[in-house]
Subunit: 406 residues, 2 copies
């Protein structure tokens, strides 16, 4: 009898992760060799608790592709080291896999989620009738190695590029010196901030200043450059990664450093944007504002990129195909064949080469004054953020979404 | 010979203010009784300095309608009391009006801008050949009296409703108690926050908590309600106006109150969202995040509402018609005839009845537990946020905009 499949989502959300889920469901239905399709609610954590829903009959794929965040919910869960074969969580998972006759386990996620796939594939290695464990990448951070990029990044890049362009226009209206600091996600990798710099990379003048975590951040140089720039334009705009570090490797504006405390003496919650806002206010004294793009950069489905959504869907399908070929312990990845016309192919990589590793912006792309680097970055990012996605508006003009959690 | 017209923009930007500019230019060209059309750069401040550009031949109206912020730039400028007839700024304006043979002055703006129109109309009252001064409303805040609503509000409402819906989905993925506080613009009026509450008003469950400036905010009640709500859902979402005040009328989280200082002893910059984030962290101790929707709520042209843009355009045209009728010292306003089908008519009001006054959310709409109030609010806001606007994407997939400032 045909074995069943379970698919789940894990880690932080993105705009494309449900497109991948749609691809998995569609391919599993088409395959003809898979029994039931189960959605695991709240990732591997929910699966341990037996929270599986039967989604075999689901077919509203276009609406699912247009749904942000995770239709199956998520978790942040690190499984025990594989040496602890008898750990409670492994026992529970074995039990659920057996109970539901699971032959295929597909996990859509980022670095930590790939660690889960790796551990499970090792745990079951060599066992007869073991499920096949396949990882499918997603993360807006674009920091997974071996894949050209990760689904989810393209839509976040589109959001950042278009929103920065709108912010630049908004801040350009007054003839009064003013600095605007836009804080972008990215603890270690600057991929998202490079997307926020796109208005400049395609021929504009702003953002005037771009800071990524891969390049040590010197506050004095920043203040000097802002001051210099204010001689040429009344409106200076900076795009900075949340994870920029100073010359000695400490996060810029970390609580320890800013020393900010509230009336109760608790360390004040703040990000690098607020910190730099204070710095400019003190050192230059002009009007200054910081903007944190926050969750919107990862959940703005209304700005999803068609190329990203279609790729997310295709990679979900490829995950099922890899599972049917028995490729356990592997992750589907994207290889770029050409920028223009944009063309990629799908392949799989051993998951231990991906799990827990980060892909940073390469050395050659860190000097943003270098026109060659800028041209290459532009050619890399632009194809990923193209095209619009149909919106499913209801009678109120609000979007309709899919959820399997309710 | 036909007199010339000058049009300018003032105050804070919106997504619809350039649509109004487009309407002014289009109507002035069609009128056949107006000579040149000048755009005043940086509002009445730039006009004093003679910064006028000839836009008589401009015709790219659709692209201008899709451009956020202000194609002519803006200013924050309060003219002297009209008793000071010989003040420098009045002398300069008289000079420029004469030099450019201005017969019509159209000013697109909010409360402060209407004050400018009022003063100029008074200054020239009774003079032969005086220009006609007409005000055209815009403000995302929707706080101008006598008009059903203001152009710009509908697009901001659409941004807020759709973005809140996406944030609600994003925050719903983890099965861990968490509170998300979304800070919305609105110093005195809660109109924008009501739009952010739309996902609940159209049948959803969230945001769980909505706070507008018109209703005194009790921190203890807030904490108690959040705590209570966390028993029913792991993810509590609150929408709060930046201008909520406590029972004694002080802004919640104002610096004086939070007492936050940085390492240099300067008062720490923070908004009500960050303040409530700290409050929940201290009092409840669960995961908590605050989101400030910041400039995005007023500049997200990619989410402009068609009804808002078309109305902005129409009110611009009506401004020219009023000017041609010689209606000096008046503002164009909207009167709602019906909600379904949505229908309005344009008329004019004496500007002294508008200038420097604020329209707050009426008493009867302040209790959001009252289903009748919610239904009325929904019927009021929904027609304003309908429809999409074509985007002018260039070869890079970025938007093309119009600017007269370069």
């Amino acid at each position: 009898m045909a074995k069943n499949l379970v698919v789940a989502q894990s880690g932080g959300p993105s705009v494309a992760i449900n497109a991948t889920l749609a691809g998995v469901i569609a391919a599993a239905k088409e395959a003809g060799r898979i029994g039931k399709i189960y959605g695991g609610i709240h990732g591997v954590e929910g699966i341990q608790a037996g929270k599986l829903v039967d989604i075999t009959d689901f077919s509203d794929f276009e609406k699912l592709k247009a749904t942000p965040a995770m239709a199956l919910g998520s978790c942040r869960c690190k499984l025990p080291p594989i040496e602890q074969k008898d750990a409670k969580s492994y026992q529970l998972l074995r039990h659920v896999f057996k109970q539901y006759d699971i032959g295929y386990f597909l996990y859509i996620g980022g670095n930590d989620s790939m660690d889960t796939v790796y551990k499970l594939s090792r745990l079951f290695a060599g066992e007869e009738n073991a499920p096949v464990f396949v990882g499918i990448p997603k993360t807006i951070d674009n920091d997974l190695p071996l894949t050209d990029h990760t689904p989810g990044y393209g839509s976040a890049a589109k959001y950042l590029a278009i929103t920065m362009d709108e912010i630049i226009r908004d801040t350009a209206i007054y003839n009064v010196p003013a600095v605007t600091i836009v804080e972008v996600m990215g603890r270690n990798a600057g991929w998202l901030t490079l997307a926020a710099a796109m208005p400049r990379f395609v021929g504009g003048k702003k953002p005037d200043f771009v800071a990524i975590p891969e390049v040590p951040f010197d506050e004095d140089v920043f203040v000097r450059k802002v001051r210099e720039q204010l001689k040429h334009t009344p409106n200076v705009v900076a795009a900075v990664s949340e994870g920029i570090r100073d010359l000695s490797g400490h996060y810029v504006g970390s609580n320890a450093k800013s020393g900010a405390v509230d009336v109760f003496g608790h360390a004040y919650l703040s990000g690098v944007g607020k910190y730099l806002e204070g710095l400019v206010k003190r050192e230059i004294g002009c009007k200054v504002r910081s903007i944190e793009l926050n969750l919107m950069q990862r959940c703005s489905a209304h700005l999803a990129a068609k190329s990203d959504i279609e790729e997310g869907y295709a990679i979900g399908k490829a995950g099922v195909e890899a599972a049917l070929r028995g490729e356990t312990g592997r992750m589907v990845a994207l290889r770029r064949i050409s920028d223009q016309p944009y063309q990629t192919e799908l392949f799989t990589v051993a998951i231990e080469e991906v799990a827990n590793l980060e892909k940073l912006v390469p050395e050659k792309w860190r000097n943003l004054e270098d026109p060659k680097a800028v041209a290459e970055i532009r050619n890399y990012i632009l194809p990923l953020m193209q095209g619009d996605v149909p919106q499913f508006r209801n009678e109120y003009g609000m979007n309709e979404y899919v959820s399997f959690m309710e």
